[in-house]
């Protein structure tokens, strides 16, 4: 009896709800047409996902005719690229996506996208509504091999040198000596001799970003003006030789996967870590010693040059309505407030001049001094090398070269054969 009663009430409730839904649907479609777009990002909850949700919610609340749905893609930019690849193969692509710099050429060669300049021209009747906020240098990060703007720079990062200041003080190492790689190598030796601990860890994820920074800061080129690999020069070799000596000969640098290396630094087993600014909040939260950061070291008498990390936003929508909605969303994302929400949530650096110069960002920097060296490096940042053809294979070849060199293979012959292999595919 009782059960019957419950069922009756339940059925009643369901029917009322469905009628309500029906009417709600009617009133909406009668008032105005809503354009739905999807935004693909790589930000897990621990990597600023909350700020993505916050921005999307704010946009949806303030724009009644557009509804953005954010979709998280695991495994960073590579994972997003894999999903985009499948989406393209099945014919249903998202409307706006984050593209990692290393994929710039692969993306622009294989996918249909709308360049920011075209979008501004078409929807704003003005070529530089957004681009005027960027420096020419920042825009150069998002250009493909043909010099075409593929998207708008969204997240920027640079590599910096984190130090365990308690350890450095204990073994009498001055931080000013760490502005060159020669100085870092010497300090690492001192630490090894006095404590038996490792001196430095240079990040080793599935890309050679940090190693490219070392070569560039010794005056080497990764690729030359014609798009050919050129890192097997004497400067490139010299940079890798110092790295190999630290790992193989002196055993003062640790050679290990990224997460283990970061654990070693955070647990006080390695004195210095050369890695991305995006690690700043993780380091700040996890260390029990005094940690700080300084700009990336250079080789003696060479200018600091670092490849930029992070991603751009590209419009992959195919229909005009969706493109227009995506462009509106993009413009919202590049407002100062949105950019600052984003950068505080993720640890990335803002891509626009206006956001970098804003007082809000300056207050944020004052509270987070570890991020400051990365901002100081921005004028020295260059685009992340993206080879025009077979770029993904080229990146893999450079990872292979790093593996071989750090296992003790000859630096000069390994770099030469890798360079030849890459150039054969160009």
């Amino acid at each position: 009896m009782n059960f019957k009663h419950v069922v009756k009430r339940f059925v009643g409730l369901i029917s009322i709800m469905s009628v309500a839904l029906l009417f709600a649907g009617c009133s909406k479609s009668a008032a105005h047409k809503v354009t739905h777009i999807t935004y693909w990002h790589v930000n897990a909850q621990t990597l600023g996902g909350a700020s993505v949700d916050k921005l999307v919610k704010k946009f949806n609340d303030t724009h009644k005719t557009i509804k953005v749905t954010a979709k998280y893609n695991p495994n960073m930019y590579q994972g997003l690229m894999q999903n985009l690849q499948s989406a393209q193969a099945s014919g249903k692509v998202p409307d706006i996506v984050q593209i990692g710099w290393a994929f710039t050429n692969y993306f622009s060669d294989n996918f249909k996208y709308m360049t920011p300049t075209d979008a501004a021209q078409k929807f704003d009747k003005n070529k530089d509504t957004i681009t005027k906020n960027f420096s020419n240098q920042a825009l150069s990060f998002a250009k493909n091999a043909k010099g075409k703007l593929v998207g708008l720079p969204y997240s920027l990062s640079t590599p910096i040198l984190y130090t365990n200041d308690s350890m450095l003080a204990k073994y009498g190492i001055k931080k000013s000596d760490l502005s060159t790689w020669e100085g870092v190598s010497k300090a690492a030796k001192t630490i090894k001799q006095k404590s038996g601990k490792y001196g430095v860890y240079i990040q080793e994820p599935a890309d050679t970003w940090a190693q490219q920074a070392m070569m560039l800061s010794n005056g080497a080129q990764i690729k030359d003006a014609s798009g050919k690999a050129a890192f097997a020069s004497s400067q490139g070799e010299q940079a890798y030789q110092l790295y190999q000596d630290m790992v193989v000969k002196d055993k003062t640098a640790i050679h290990t996967p990224w997460n283990q290396g970061m654990d070693d630094f955070v647990n006080g087993k390695v004195a210095m870590a050369f890695t991305t600014v995006a690690q700043a909040s993780h380091i700040k939260q996890s260390v029990s010693f005094k940690a700080s950061a300084q700009t990336a070291p250079t080789f003696k008498a060479h200018k600091l040059t670092v490849p930029v990390g992070g991603s751009m936003l590209s419009i992959t929508a195919q229909k005009t309505d969706q493109q227009k909605a995506a462009w509106t969303f993009e413009k919202f994302m590049y407002q100062n407030d949105s950019l600052l929400t984003w950068d505080k949530g993720t640890g990335y650096l803002p891509p626009t001049k206006t956001a970098l110069d804003s007082s809000q960002f300056k207050t944020y920097l004052a509270a987070n001094p570890m991020i400051k060296p990365a901002v100081d490096e921005l004028p020295n940042a260059v685009p992340w090398t993206s080879f025009p053809k077979n770029g993904l294979q080229a990146e893999q070849d450079m990872i292979d070269a790093r593996d071989k060199i750090l296992s003790g293979s000859s630096v000069s012959s390994t770099l030469k054969s890798t360079q030849e292999k890459i150039n054969d595919q160009q």
Partner: protein
């Protein structure tokens, strides 16, 4: 009563009518029952294998409008490329190690638990089975932390005894061993339970008879229990080889990404790397086809020698 030929004819006609439909039904019915699974198998297994085979003759990245036909080039490079050779060799090492860790080892333990231990059998079952409930990703991350040679708990503990953990991520063979151990942590309990259940099904009266005759325990196990438990053992053996290569994938992807310099990669991970990291669908398809052939041969060998012999015995 039937008393003229036309009636006979009629009777036969009326009989044979239903008989034909009956036979038809008899033949068609099982096919109809099989149809749904056959259809699923065709769509999700046969077509993809066929398409993979087709793709192995092209250079293609999955989305480019044109596929470049390269003939047997992808197959030639599967066997001649030094990286592929290295990966093949690793695959063999993985299979051997996994056979020892995930088949022979749990078999030994289940024999001990079944025949030599009287108490706590239930507790062992539960204890060994617990890790199977965790996801391998969790296991891989956990072990990568525990076995961190510089700052992990294992290294800190060893330091108290003046010992050091080697940098296992920098050596292919050591990385392979650690990855196999992680897989073992996950699979051991499941295989153990399966084998133990098999051992429990060996009829009690045979064992009692052997005991009465004073046959030594090792002879009972060798000559009675192992042959009688063959069915389960073969199932676990095949599972170990086929699933082992797939299970290895997760810790590989989480910890070493196949490194150092493909030192810990296996054929499955290398196929994934080619297909979904480098988007070289052709090479990946050729690798997948070769893997498929190898498993086909293994299966054939298994059916011919192991199951075939079994039938002869019966």
């Amino acid at each position: 009563m039937i008393n003229n030929s036309s009636q006979v004819q009629n009777k036969i006609a009326s009989r044979s009518g239903p008989e034909i439909t009956g036979r038809f039904r008899y033949r068609l019915k099982p096919l109809m029952y099989l149809l749904p699974s056959a259809l699923l198998l065709f769509v999700f297994i046969v077509i993809p294998i066929g398409y993979t085979f087709y793709l192995s003759f092209f250079n293609w990245n999955l989305i480019a409008p044109t596929k470049e036909f390269v003939g047997l080039q992808n197959y030639i490079s599967v066997f001649t490329d030094p990286t592929n050779q290295k990966v093949m060799l690793n695959t063999v090492i993985y299979i051997i190690l996994l056979l020892i860790l995930n088949f022979i080892f749990p078999y030994l333990i289940s024999l001990i638990v079944n025949f030599f231990i009287g108490k706590m059998k239930g507790a062992y079952k539960v204890l060994f089975f617990i890790p199977s409930l965790f996801s391998l990703v969790v296991g891989a991350m956990l072990f990568s932390w525990i076995l961190n040679p510089v700052s992990g708990p294992a290294a800190l503990m060893l330091r108290n005894f003046g010992m050091k953990l080697p940098q296992w991520t920098n050596s292919g063979s050591m990385a392979i061993i650690v990855i196999c151990l992680i897989t073992n942590w996950k699979v051991f309990g499941y295989n153990f339970i399966l084998l133990l259940t098999g051992l429990g099904a060996v009829p009690r009266n045979i064992l009692d008879a052997a005991a009465l005759d004073g046959v030594p325990k090792w002879r009972v196990i060798w000559n009675i229990v192992l042959p009688m438990n063959r069915g389960v053992a073969i199932y676990v053996l095949i599972l170990t080889i086929v699933q082992g290569l797939q299970y290895v994938f997760t810790p590989l992807n989480v910890i070493t990404q196949g490194g150092p310099y493909y030192g810990s990669s296996n054929i499955l991970y290398h196929t994934y790397l080619n297909a979904f990291v480098l988007y070289k669908t052709g090479s990946a398809s050729a690798l997948a086809t070769v893997t498929f052939m190898i498993f086909l041969v293994l299966l054939f060998v298994e059916i011919k020698f192991v199951e075939g012999r079994n039938r002869d015995v019966e």
